[in-house]
């Protein structure tokens, strides 16, 4: 199957700044794809390259098999939900949603009917007469979504669409976006700096840093088998183990990672294991997270609820299964 979006050695440089640097990427049709990375990592520039607001300095971009370099945004069957929503303040909600159909020359009745349907899809039926200024942040977000979807794009681009919403609203929108994507079968490309959001929503995640893709894979891959220290660090909460440490247990001098829940904590300090001291405890409900100091190496471990939690300053032994210690591709 032709990929929905394909980057081949695609670069976008701004003077000396390599915003996107020789990126190879294939996004499959019908996929919910997340681009994850810190700010300035190139993820938004990648999105803008797909939308057509930026042109690659070198390399190529194909959308559904067609070369997209030099094609202006208004000739691409791709629509964007902007970070600040970018609703037209002078138009009411219905005309905002119908805008794409209006510039295509579709008559008033037909485009208003389609816009009303799109508003129903995002659970805002009957809001057509209001001005964007009269809506809440969550409602504007939905209008922006309806305005993009009414054009039946082949690819929907979402630029940090949930960034401005409060936590509760964000969680319900995540769920809704996911269901909408399943129901419509449209390829969604989603830019975020929130690793939790990327992992929980996407079918696949690309982790960006310094204009390059550090790892692409399913959320479980990224989470359990980070390819590099950067990915382990950014995706978060995994213990990053230095080559010396890894060599002792796995025999190879490589960087490694170990999930906190895979570390067992024993009060009895005799026998095998890594000796450590408890620095602090964080109660999380289902488990308690321990910050540990193993001879200068900072580690995290989780103790499930119901087991005894060692107090601050206690000396403990840490054990883990050697096959759960993940060796990173990154060389020492």
């Amino acid at each position: 199957m032709t990929p929905a979006v394909a980057f081949q050695k695609t670069s976008r440089h701004f003077g000396a700044v390599r915003a996107v640097d020789a990126v190879d990427l294939e996004i499959q049709q019908g996929e919910f794809f997340a681009m994850l990375g810190p700010s300035g990592s190139g993820k938004t520039t990648c999105l803008r390259l797909i939308a057509g607001f930026e042109q690659p300095t070198s390399g190529s971009i194909s959308i559904f098999g067609e070369r997209a370099e030099g094609v202006p945004p208004y000739r691409r069957n791709v629509n964007t939900v902007f970070q600040d929503y970018a609703l037209f303040p002078h138009l009411n909600v219905l005309d905002n949603v119908a805008y794409g159909l209006m510039v295509k020359g579709i008559n008033r009745d037909e485009r208003h009917r389609a816009a009303e349907d799109a508003l129903k899809l995002v659970q805002l039926p009957g809001y057509g007469g209001r001005k964007p200024g009269q809506l809440s942040g969550g409602q504007r977000q939905r209008v922006a979504l309806a305005r993009a979807l009414v054009n039946k794009p082949k690819v929907l681009l979402l630029d940090e669409p949930l960034g401005a919403l409060d936590l509760k609203l964000r969680e319900s929108m995540q769920e809704e976006l996911k269901q909408l994507q399943k129901a419509l079968g449209i390829t969604f490309v989603f830019v975020t700096h929130d690793q939790g959001e990327a992992l929980s929503m996407a079918d696949r995640v690309a982790v960006f840093n310094d204009g390059r893709i550090k790892q692409v894979g399913a959320p479980e891959d990224i989470y359990q088998r980070p390819a590099s220290r950067f990915v382990a660090d950014f995706v978060g909460s995994s213990n990053v183990l230095p080559p010396d440490f890894v060599q002792r247990y796995a025999g190879e001098r490589r960087w490694g990672s170990l999930r906190p829940e895979q570390i067992r904590v024993r009060r009895d300090t005799s026998g095998d294991g890594v000796a450590a001291r408890v620095v602090s405890r964080h109660y999380l409900g289902a488990a308690t997270k321990l910050s540990l100091d193993a001879d200068g190496l900072k580690l995290h471990a989780t103790v499930p609820s119901g087991t005894a939690v060692p107090e601050d300053g206690a000396h403990v032994m840490l054990t883990f299964n050697r096959d759960q210690l993940h060796l990173m591709e990154e060389q020492a």
Partner: protein, 271 residues
Amino acid sequence: MRSDRSQSAPLGIKIAAAAGLAFLHLPILLIFVYAFTTEEKSYQWPPPGLTTQWFAATWARPDVWQALGLSVQVAAISTAIALVLGTLCAAAVSQTRFFGREAISLLVILPIALPGIITGIALRSAFSLAEIPFSFWTIVLGHATFCVVVVYNNAVARFRRTSGSLIEASMDLGADGFQTFRHVILPNIGTALLAGGMLAFALSFDEVIVTTFTAGQQQTLPIWMLEELVRPRQRPVTNVVAMVVVLATLLPILAAYYLTREGDQIAGAGK
């Protein structure tokens, strides 16, 4: 603010404020009164009698009509030029980043900060150096220098409040450059352009200094009035014209004031 209202200003300040306003506006009323006086050779107070004959006399004078016609044409064309150039310049300065952007912004505003006499002398020497004969078009050019600034200032303020992603959103939804201008940019900056245009028109309409340096034989209305004051015949005709000019400039400025005030709220509601 309620606390401000309950605390009334002292009587002395009230009187001073009233006196200040009276000082500003009573002389204008005086002009209006002299438009009805029966004395035609000098301004005599109090007027020996009141008459409306000068309105008919003014109406019948072809030189008034000629000057008025010229002024309206010059103001209209200068404003039209200013609308196009001022908007383009404001769009460039506010939507893109380029080397020398701040310098260009300053250079555009400079003509209104410069004394008119400097602009006038500069233009006059430039025109004669380039051997351009003084004509209707040299007046228009002179006026356009400051009209552009007024439109630019209004447009640039509105552009800054208009999110740049609106234009991208429009393109993203399938609108080309022209459609984006017509359906998104123009509705968002329309009131600012109207206000800037009216202000530009009013400025051009009563301009004297630059006009004296850039006009040939033509007389715009303010210049005609200036020359009329030294002539001893039918003086109240000048006052009738002055009254018309005051009303003709006051109304657009008032309208511009209300339009931009309302525009603030419209643009502010966008985000």
